[in-house]
């Protein structure tokens, strides 16, 4: 394990940024974001970023290919940005788990080469949580926020940053940083995690086994009735991975790009025959069934949720996965 006095954090960031692009969480609570590091940029005091860390591997908008139109000729131009190594520092345990979930989707055969390239080029340095928010429930999903994974795991205790490489990529990265000293992090006692209001969320009712029961549950109607059909939950979610592919005609070129899509939208998976989910009820159901039932049914019971609590904070009408799980999971005698 390596250590670094926090007083040298700026020099540490500078050294990291010298070798590759470095992203750190910066900004005020509520709008903090992973930001390219530059001289003077400080680590955010907020627990987590507004948008998740997935953005760096699966950006909201990404160009796929260009078609050049000259007169009546169309030429296909491979136009992806060159792969550049980068480091993302300060990823929380929850967001770090989201990469496992995304990997199972994007890296399964046939692999999504755009995502794959970024995964290969990105090194993840995590940071353990010490001051969770009341909306955090990663512990209920088997994640240990005090001991995050990643290529390099990080802890801040007192005024020292401790770093532990977990992968070859992580070790290689730490090798490049001469200011790191050897050191062992002290044992941290963090009773706050036992006080989290959502720590005892019960997920036992979910998974692939009770698919039809949940699908046909009459409770969806009242859960979905106030949903506005916006995509804020989707777009701040670290595990949502749906996208749409669209063409933009610049007049001389067609730029084919993909962008995030949300199953909450009425035109999600719109097809020539119409859309498969006619009302918000079905769309709402889809999102939560996917996270709690469909995904686990095809991925060894793993849920498509990491308990980061973003949707609890961001939903305009405060309808979220915790309320859904609570309502559906409740055994009720009809």
């Amino acid at each position: 394990m390596k250590k670094l006095p926090l007083s040298q954090l700026d020099a540490f960031f500078a050294a990291l940024a010298a070798g590759q692009e470095l992203y750190i969480p910066a900004g005020d609570a509520g709008t903090a974001a992973f930001t390219p590091w530059r001289e003077g940029l400080k680590l955010t005091p907020a627990l987590n970023t507004s948008r998740s860390a997935k953005d760096l591997f699966f950006p909201q908008v990404e160009n796929l290919v260009d078609f050049k139109v000259t007169g009546k000729q169309i030429e296909i131009i491979e136009n992806r940005a060159p792969a550049k190594p980068f480091v993302i520092f300060g990823v929380r345990a929850c967001d770090c788990r989201s990469f496992d979930i995304l990997d199972k989707v994007f890296l399964a055969d046939p692999a999504d080469t755009y995502y794959k390239t970024r995964r290969e080029n990105g090194t993840i340095v995590t940071l353990a949580c010490t001051e969770p928010e009341e909306t955090c429930f990663c512990t209920a999903l088997g994640i240990d926020p005090a001991n995050p994974a990643g290529d390099v795991s990080g802890w801040i205790a007192e005024d020292t940053l401790y770093l532990q490489a977990n992968t070859g990529k992580g070790s290689a990265l730490l090798e490049t940083l001469p200011m790191l000293e050897e050191g062992e992090k002290p044992e941290l006692d963090q009773p706050v995690f036992d006080r989290l209001p959502l720590k005892d969320l019960d997920w036992s009712a979910f998974g692939g086994e009770r698919m039809m029961e949940h699908f046909n549950s009459p409770k969806w109607a009242s859960l979905a009735e106030s949903c506005l059909g916006c995509g804020s939950c989707t777009f701040v979610c670290p595990t949502c991975q749906c996208y749409d592919i669209k063409d933009f005609n610049t007049g001389s070129e067609i730029k084919r790009f993909r962008c995030w899509d949300s199953c909450m939208y009425s035109d999600f998976t719109l097809m020539s025959a119409g859309q498969p989910r006619p009302t918000q009820l079905e769309r709402f159901r889809q999102r939560f069934m996917h996270k709690l039932v469909y995904y686990p049914s095809t991925h060894e019971g793993e849920f498509g949720c990491v308990g980061c609590g973003r949707c609890l904070q961001k939903c305009p009408i405060s309808m979220n996965i915790v309320k859904v799980a609570g309502t559906l999971g409740k055994e009720e005698t009809p």
Partner: protein
């Protein structure tokens, strides 16, 4: 863009069919010169101009957009330019509020008899836009790939 090339702006002029388009024709008939940077799009009435069209023009590379219509009170459709006037005033004010150069957009009332005014207006507008230089604040880089 070559270094020595002087900047030639792209200016879109939306002209109502009844007054300003005819005014532009009259400028032509009288051989009144104005820069070829101005391209006219004919619309039935100034009230047909959707703010979307203006933003679209900027997106696609316009450096200035001007709307010409009948003088207030003279609208072929009686009231169209009154609505256009309110819409454009508010839109331009909003663009200004967002920090986009207020000189890039303009409304002029040009009657069918005012060929000279049309040419003067275009000369002046192109000069203003040229001075401002390339539209940077409302550009869409995807449309400038060449």
């Amino acid at each position: 863009m070559q270094v020595n090339e002087t900047f030639k702006p792209t200016v879109v002029a939306f002209c109502c069919n009844w007054c300003s388009y005819a005014g532009a024709d009259l400028a032509g008939t009288n051989r009144l010169q104005y820069p070829a940077d101005v391209k006219i799009i004919r619309i039935p009435c100034s009230c047909r101009l959707n703010p979307l069209f203006i933003l679209r023009a900027f997106q696609r590379g316009a450096d200035g957009v001007i709307l010409c219509g009948c003088h207030p009170g003279d609208c072929h459709y009686t009231t169209g330019n009154y609505y256009a006037r309110r819409r454009m005033t508010l839109l331009f004010s909003m663009l200004d509020y967002l920090g986009i150069e207020r000189e890039r957009t303009r409304v002029e009332w040009v009657s069918a008899a005012e060929g000279a005014k049309f040419a003067e207006t275009m000369n002046d507008f192109v000069e203003t836009v040229t001075r401002l230089g390339e539209n940077r604040r409302l550009e869409d880089l995807r449309c400038k790939s060449e």
